[in-house]
């Protein structure tokens, strides 16, 4: 191929200058990947000797033989809210309330974390830097860790679940919102500034209309994610249906666990669908 170019005195395209078979960089990358995987397998010391497929299949089959007793109160002390259905509803609302709290806190902070709003003054630029660092630190702590850390403060139940989920989401939403603010067209803001408007008026008139759709879109995306995360929180004491799922698994009541997992899948999948539909209409 390269002769076509050399014969005509044209520069040879770089991808034709080397043969892929003799390019040491390709072989180098391949060797690096293989070495990493080899080290990983050695370190993990994966033991397959105790695997028992036939036993496992039997247990898995129990997941599908649903035990519907968890859907109704089992004694005089239990109410609807102790059943799987009730706990599922509580869990959904746990996700909704956590999203609402994080939206309310991340929304104003997002403007403080947007470069285009905060530069031009050393004080505001410093606030921008701090807010962005806070967002990144919060975001890097996993929800489960936050919930566990909140347990001694609130005790077992929905409180650490809601606040832990909300806390993590402030970081995620704050970053997403800030980037939406940074992505706006600066032109309208410049024009409105030129009319003699104050900074607050500029944000209200020229910035807000541009970010409303991305804000709604990100909020619904996080609502979707939070409803997916909420059933897990009970595993570490954060309340909701997760606690029941955790108990049934610990007690090897796979017939009950299977039904709960099925309910979670239905809720999460429908939430996912709903979220995608709404966000599609927003763009």
């Amino acid at each position: 191929m390269a002769e076509y170019f050399t014969a005509r005195g044209l520069p040879v395209p770089p991808e034709l200058q080397r043969s892929p078979l003799t390019d040491w960089r390709r072989w180098g990358v391949l060797a690096l990947v293989m070495a990493t995987l080899y080290i990983g397998v050695q370190l993990l010391n994966i033991d397959l000797s105790r695997a028992n497929p036939s036993y496992a299949l039997g247990q898995m089959a129990r997941l599908l033989r649903w035990d519907f007793r968890i859907m109704s109160p089992q004694n005089e002390f239990e109410t609807f809210w102790d059943t799987a259905g009730g706990l599922m509803i509580v869990t959904i609302f746990l996700g909704i309330v956590a999203t609402a709290i994080s939206v309310a806190i991340a929304l104003p902070l997002a403007f403080l974390g947007a470069r285009n709003i905060m530069t031009g003054n050393p004080v505001t630029a410093a606030i921008y830097g701090v807010v962005r660092i806070v967002f990144n630190v919060i975001r890097s702590i996993d929800v489960l860790i936050v919930v566990i850390l909140l347990l001694p403060f609130f005790g077992l139940g929905s409180a650490p679940g809601v606040f832990g989920l909300a806390f993590h989401n402030i970081g995620v939403l704050g970053k997403l919102y800030s980037e939406a603010v940074e992505g706006i067209d600066p032109g309208p803001g410049e024009a409105v500034t030129a009319t003699g408007a104050s900074r607050i008026q500029v944000i209200w008139t020229a910035v807000l209309p541009q970010i409303i759709n991305p804000f709604i879109s990100f909020s619904i995306y996080r609502l979707d994610a939070n409803i997916r995360l909420a059933p897990i929180l009970g595993f570490v004491g954060g309340g909701g249906i997760g606690q029941m799922l955790f108990q049934t698994i610990q007690l090897l009541e796979y017939e009950k666990a299977g039904l709960i997992i099925f309910m979670i899948v239905v809720i999460v999948a429908s939430m996912d669908f709903f979220s995608a539909q709404v966000r599609k209409r927003l763009t």
């Binding site: 309208p188 009319t195 003699g196 408007a197 104050s198 607050i200």
Partner: protein, 280 residues
């Protein structure tokens, strides 16, 4: 009569080291239609933005109607900006809002914070909005979203928004550079009208020399952040043109005055050629 704008020793050096304005001294009288010309990067936009301090000058002074713009603290600067309208190459409308809302935004400098948040313009503002929309012939589009309008219509909305301020000075930053020649003339005619009928001083940057000659009462050419020419549009002769736009453009300009269909080969020449062809 005191000049409306007095600029002395204006310099702007951007943080990356670019010297956009390198000592501008300029006095503009009320009622003038000043056209700024010059190559891209010659400092036209920066000069316009230093007048209402959208760009903070590095040094020098800008005085608007006896008030020092460069020294004005926030609230006073906003009162000055209120008296200076501005329109832009990219129109800079809030695209998702209606034409009506965009025009009302021109009144923000006069509006209280409460009325801004409550979206409650005064009756007077609403009446003004309709008057100005009618003036630029776009009343029937009042409740269309701004991004559904054509470029020429959007620029007219931009003019209506600026007129809402009841400005004494209108800054126009390449107002027709995104428009076709026919639309360009219609937009320029609105600027001419507000200059002649309302006595609003206009400072307008343009790429096309023919438009500068047609509409300007005074032409100022910038080159490398300095004033290269300042005078009557008719006085821009071959030598001045060469000085402003460089050697290449000169010959094409001469060629064009002879044959309008001269071949266009480079962006710089095009700036000189197309409007000539258009005006014949």
């Amino acid at each position: 009569m005191t000049p409306i704008v007095e600029i002395t020793g204006l310099r702007k050096v951007f943080p990356n080291g670019t010297v956009a304005l390198d000592g501008i001294d300029l006095t503009i009288q009320r009622g003038e239609f000043v056209v700024l010309i010059g190559l891209s990067g010659s400092g036209k936009s920066t000069l316009l933005r230093c007048i209402n301090r959208l760009v903070e000058p590095t040094s020098g002074r800008v005085v608007f109607d006896r008030t020092d713009v460069t020294a004005a603290p926030g609230p006073e600067l906003r009162r000055i900006r209120r008296r200076i309208g501005m329109i832009f190459q990219q129109f800079n409308l809030v695209k998702r809002l209606t034409v009506y809302s965009n025009v009302l935004a021109g009144r923000l400098g006069y509006r209280s914070m409460w009325r801004t948040f409550a979206s409650r313009p005064t009756d007077e503002d609403v009446a003004r909005a309709y008057e100005n929309l009618g003036r630029v012939g776009i009343l029937e589009k009042a409740f269309s979203r701004a991004d559904q309008l054509s470029g020429g219509q959007q620029q007219r909305v931009g003019i209506a928004r600026a007129l809402m301020q009841a400005p004494e000075l209108m800054l126009a930053d390449e107002p027709v550079a995104s428009l076709d020649p026919a639309t360009s003339h219609s937009v320029m005619k609105y600027l001419e009208e507000i200059n002649r009928k309302d006595g609003i001083t206009v400072i307008c940057s343009l790429h096309f020399l023919s438009l500068a000659r047609r509409y300007g009462s005074r032409v100022i050419a910038l080159k490398g952040g300095r004033i290269a020419f300042d005078g009557c549009p008719a006085d821009i002769d071959e030598r001045e043109f060469k000085d402003i736009y460089g050697e290449d453009a000169v010959e094409v300009e001469i060629g064009v005055t002879k044959t309008a269909e001269e071949r266009v080969t480079d962006e710089r020449e095009r700036a000189a050629v197309i409007p000539e062809a258009d005006s014949h």
